[in-house]
Symmetry: C2
């Protein structure tokens, strides 16, 4: 996977899945059932390490991704959240005006996020070099969205309103998030992360001019600050900014299932690795359809500079046998 | 607006807003507060007519759109829904297997949807020719999504699973929805609707090949069956299928705020009218920014074959004064 990310030649396409450590595995659900909630799992390094390694052992993926949550950053900056069953994350306090931004601190990973770096160190040791370990963070715009909205949203109109009504405050907050994220990612790398992925889950909701100003600008800042390991940028839904994403100082660009490999290659040029992008719902289809779609994806991306993945996190009710079929089809494919 | 939709010359760009009849207006909230819920308003023709006309009187838009809900169709087919405060629509029964599809009937608008056609007839009379009246329906894929999911969803993975696991059942259901919709729209036209708009709110979630097979195919069927009045197709998020939408037998294509006028014109050619597409969040910005963005939009679309609108329904917390400024900027603009 590291060779694919850095443009070296590979024997075959590497493969992992977003959300591979999680509810698709009965072994994950067993660990989870013994706990009070999702946050306890995120904050207990031994258990986070255990569920991180499960898909390596059980599914045979070519990389592990540390089990955590993008919302640990607002938490570490002074805005705690809780997970509500059937609803998702809830912040009891939110950023609603500029004066709230001043109250946010730059996260100190050695102190506030030690549970993540500890989990990485344990995982790294237990993986013992079998596969690389991916560290990650949310991109600043997505993190700001949650800090302003206080929960998930269909339109994120509160967060978007903040950009229009308080652009200076938004930049100030995004800068603090970016600085927190840089410190956090450097700590992850020091603890053992071999690759970093930035998730911009709500990239696709902003108009292009705003995404360049409030989104990519801070991804850029983070990518420029991290030179130790390869970085992947996954800006979901941001088809309209793919050319500009291609100009960022990152190694790999994640794609959702709407962007064809040809379109992406055409827009970003030949110097980036592409990651993705099977429709996660194709894992609900018949085995024949799944194998056919997977091979089509491999052929459309080509052998070099591709890391196979889904175009979104694997959905919780996906049959693990189908996930294995997806993975094995990729591992067995001969170009 | 009718002239713009049919490619005739206009003195100025016409303008209306998706969701203009609704929570942005205090006068709407006053009507709504006197009732038990949203559905009572939808199902009471005199009141639906009253709130339909409010934005014509109060905001000065160039068209009225009948106050209703796309979910009246599943209701009329045998799958009732209720509106839950803070949650949205909930269906107590859903389509979960092929045998459920057989239980669905083709809606009989004269019987099941008379409250809508009555509301149209009253509105038409009260408008007295001042502005055209837009009738509407949900596109079949979006309606199927709700019928399978039973509520809103971030991923619509249940509905998408149904397409992959039960493609025959899905086609059967989509066909029933399309037939119900055709009968419904013909009844709306007979009652006085001057223009029809199809809303495909969840178009953007399907991969292209599936959107062509399960989405556009049925929009096509509906458009081919309606020749009495101009039709608008608004497939939100379906940038990847814009060329194919341009080949449909419709007059106008609605655009969200990601698609530039140049991109749309390039993909659909010169024979369609384009509708949209100001970012609804720009109405949160300063007056100067709003006027600047509105004029930019007008100039980018050009004078002919454009109906000004937002790229999404106006958000409930938008200041009506800003909406008026948007409308008046368009009405006052001289090309």
């Amino acid at each position: 996977m590291i060779r694919a990310a850095t443009g070296q030649s590979v024997e075959r396409t590497p493969v992992w899945l977003m959300r591979q450590a999680g509810r698709i595995l009965p072994e994950y659900r067993a660990v989870r059932a013994s706990l009070s909630g999702f946050k306890e799992l995120v904050e207990t390094p031994e258990l986070a390490a255990e569920v991180t390694i499960q898909p390596v052992d059980l599914l045979g993926v070519d990389a592990a991704i540390i089990f955590s949550d993008i919302l640990v950053i607002p938490d570490a900056m002074g805005l705690p959240y809780r997970m509500e069953k059937g609803v998702g994350p809830i912040f009891d306090n939110t950023i609603s005006e500029v004066s709230d931004v001043a109250k946010m601190k730059i996260a100190d990973p050695g102190d506030d996020l030690k549970y993540v770096t500890d989990a990485i160190a344990i995982t790294k040791k237990e993986l013992n070099g079998r596969v690389p370990l991916i560290g990650f963070a949310g991109a600043p715009w997505t993190i700001l969205s949650y800090m302003v909205e206080g929960k998930g949203s269909k339109t994120f109109s509160e967060a978007r309103k903040f950009l229009y009504t308080e652009p200076k405050g938004a930049h100030e907050l995004l800068d603090k998030i970016a600085d927190s994220t840089i410190a956090y990612l450097k700590a992850q790398i020091e603890a053992g992360a071999d690759v970093i992925q930035l998730f911009d889950s709500w990239a696709g909701i902003l108009p292009k001019h705003q995404y360049l100003e409030f989104g990519l600008r801070y991804i850029n800042k983070i990518c420029d600050a991290i030179s130790e390991v390869p970085i992947t940028v996954f800006a979901k839904g941001a088809w309209f900014a793919l050319k500009e994403i291609g100009e960022i100082n990152c190694n790999t660009i994640g794609l959702d299932w709407h962007t064809t490999p040809a379109m992406a290659r055409n827009l970003v040029g030949g110097e980036k690795t592409l990651q993705g992008n099977l429709d996660p719902c194709l894992l609900y289809a018949s085995e024949d359809e799944l194998v056919k779609g997977t091979i089509e994806m491999l052929e459309n991306f080509g052998k070099e500079r591709h890391i196979a993945n889904l175009g979104h996190g694997v959905y919780p009710d996906t049959n693990p046998e189908k996930v294995k079929l997806f993975i094995n089809t990729i591992k067995d494919y001969k170009f």
